[in-house]
Amino acid sequence: MSAALTAPTRVHLTRWVVRLHRPALYLWTALILALAAALLWLAGPLADAAAEAWQRYNACADMGPCAYDQDAILRYKDYYEYATYAVLAVPFLVAAWSGASLIGREVENGTARLAWTQGLSPVRWLATKLALPALLVTVGTGALVALHRHAWVAGDGRIDTAKSWSDFATFYASGPVVVALALTGLVAGALIGLRRASSFGALGGGLCVTAFLWFGIHLLIPHLWSTVTKVTPMAHNVGPSGNGISVTQGVITATGARIADAHCTADTTAQCQAYYADLDAVSWFNDYHPAAHYWPLQWIATGILLAVTALLTVVTFRGLRRRTTTPEGAAV
């Protein structure tokens, strides 16, 4: 009996969520389609034109005039930057909408309470409200991230001014971390939305929690996988080598001691030269993540964020259940 009844009810509830948030659904679809089109354009014609311009530029003689399409290079650079920041804004958009519109508004004006009296338990109400958005956020953000990665690969090695994989904006916009962050934003918005009496406060709170967790994972990421160490003799006179996400840099002295030094990154100034001579430094060291660490770092960070999101989800549901059952208990 219950199986026969729950199936149609679930369909009905999903339809109800869709109808209530139709403008948001349209906006989300339009945003994903527009950004996806922009990223495809970036990966195709824009990247090709910029790569060709760089090829021409590099073929030019050192002296004399050089004819190349500088505008194509700048256009790729500008549009890449806009597209990257647009992808990075997605978790915040989701958090703001979740806090203010999906949950906060209904709590503020009391329609949530009304719904709970209509045979829909608070827990089912929240589960329905979160399930479909979570699916759409995962699919939409996942598609954007994949296309951003595609656009980055299209420029890598062909466009001299293309961003490195370790550029933080690029790192986040082209990996699964940002998908997990969007889901974190969704749950964070709901968590605050259920606790704050005003939808604007919930919006601000959801944004703050998302920003805070992003900052936290940003500090954590370099330490999630063991680093590679590259040692370069001091004679190179150019500072430590090794490209990627650097964790610790410094010098190794004649006795073999490692001295991490955040400030003098090369012995270019007289002060730094004297400083290193005093230390009896013989070589540079650089503990860093090369490009091969890209996927391990991405997936571990994604896993941590998903675990945090799961925890926040549990807290949200438990908080809701406690709040909605206490008054009845008090009435008894």
Binding site: M63, S198, S199
Partner: protein
């Protein structure tokens, strides 16, 4: 009499959290500027290492950036919490039945936040002007950077006031809190991007021509430069690819037909006129948006009253 003092008090009580958050933000910004210039600057200079100046210049940049873009938050708040929420939930309508006309209601809702924004600007802008010029040797920015340009003059306050008016108008037109928030923020971001791209055109530039290459002072904000080919301005000849000894350079530039150089720029003395022009544009938009908000509100509530009277 009691209504005159009572109304602002109601607005203050209703939006106490927002006022506290805003006051904390402005005070933190001012305290940060004082700390950076009195403590951090000296220790950065004393440490003598390559990158110590970043300890000073990076947080300095954060302060001006945060204050510059605070109008995003003002637009969001004005569109949703200040006006949108009351129209959506109907508490505005309730207030209008309590002897408070819609016009007075809106006037009180806008006047107090506007006053708070102006007061915050009156405190922040002078402190920032002092802080920005106190340790120039540790900074890598220039007066024409977007955030610095706005924060060193009244433009930063005008952005806040404009965001307030645009938020209120969006809320009154849409009568719903979240769409009003989205529209207000989107309008303000577009306006800001437009003004930032065109601010150099709002005041005549200075053009210098010379037979030799032009060295502008570091503080000059260069707009465009190029070479004179047989006396005509040209931006597409890449004379910078000429290299080598003086004689080689001369032959290379002669081959290209270069007879001189030109450069158009804004000297630092253009800061005030440019900042005031932008402030003027923003305040004009603020006035128009405010007028439109009052007109729409009166039109709607007036029509409703006539209907109900019939």
């Amino acid at each position: 009499m009691s209504a005159v003092t009572g109304l602002p008090r109601t607005v203050l009580r209703l939006h106490r959290t927002a006022l506290i958050v805003w006051a904390a933000f402005v005070l933190a910004a001012v305290a940060g500027l004082v700390w950076l210039n009195e403590i951090t600057a000296d220790s950065a200079r004393a440490s003598g290492s390559d990158w110590a100046w970043l300890d000073y210049s990076e947080p300095m940049g954060w302060v001006s950036t945060a204050m510059y873009y605070s109008f995003w938050a003002v637009a969001a708040w004005a569109g949703s919490a200040l006006i949108g929420r009351e129209l959506e939930s109907g508490t505005a309508r309730l207030a209008w039945t309590q002897g408070l006309s819609p016009t007075r209601w809106l006037a009180a809702k806008l006047a107090l936040p506007a006053l708070v924004l102006v007061l915050a600007g009156a405190v922040f802008v002078p402190v920032y002007r002092w802080a920005w010029s106190a340790n120039r040797d540790l900074m890598g920015d220039n007066w024409d950077f977007g955030d610095v340009f706005a924060a060193r003059g009244p433009a930063v306050v005008a952005y806040g006031l404009c965001a307030l008016a645009v938020g209120a108008l969006a809320a009154i037109v849409l009568r719903r809190s979240l769409p009003a928030l989205g529209v207000a923020v989107a309008v303000m971001i577009s306006l800001n991007v437009y003004l930032e791209q065109h601010r150099e055109e709002f005041w005549p530039t200075v053009t210098r021509t010379s037979a030799t290459e032009i060295e502008l002072p570091n503080s000059a904000s260069q707009i465009e430069n190029g070479v004179l080919v047989h006396g005509q301005r040209n931006t597409s000849v890449d004379y910078w690819s000429c290299d080598g000894t003086a004689a080689e350079m001369k032959r290379c530039t002669d081959d290209l037909g270069i007879t001189g150089y030109w450069s158009t720029f804004h000297p630092q003395s253009h800061f005030w006129p440019m900042n005031l022009v932008e402030t003027g544009i923003l305040l004009t938009i603020t006035a128009l948006a405010t007028a439109a908000a009052f007109w729409t509100l009166r039109h709607r509530t007036g029509a409703a009253r006539k209907e109900s009277a019939v």
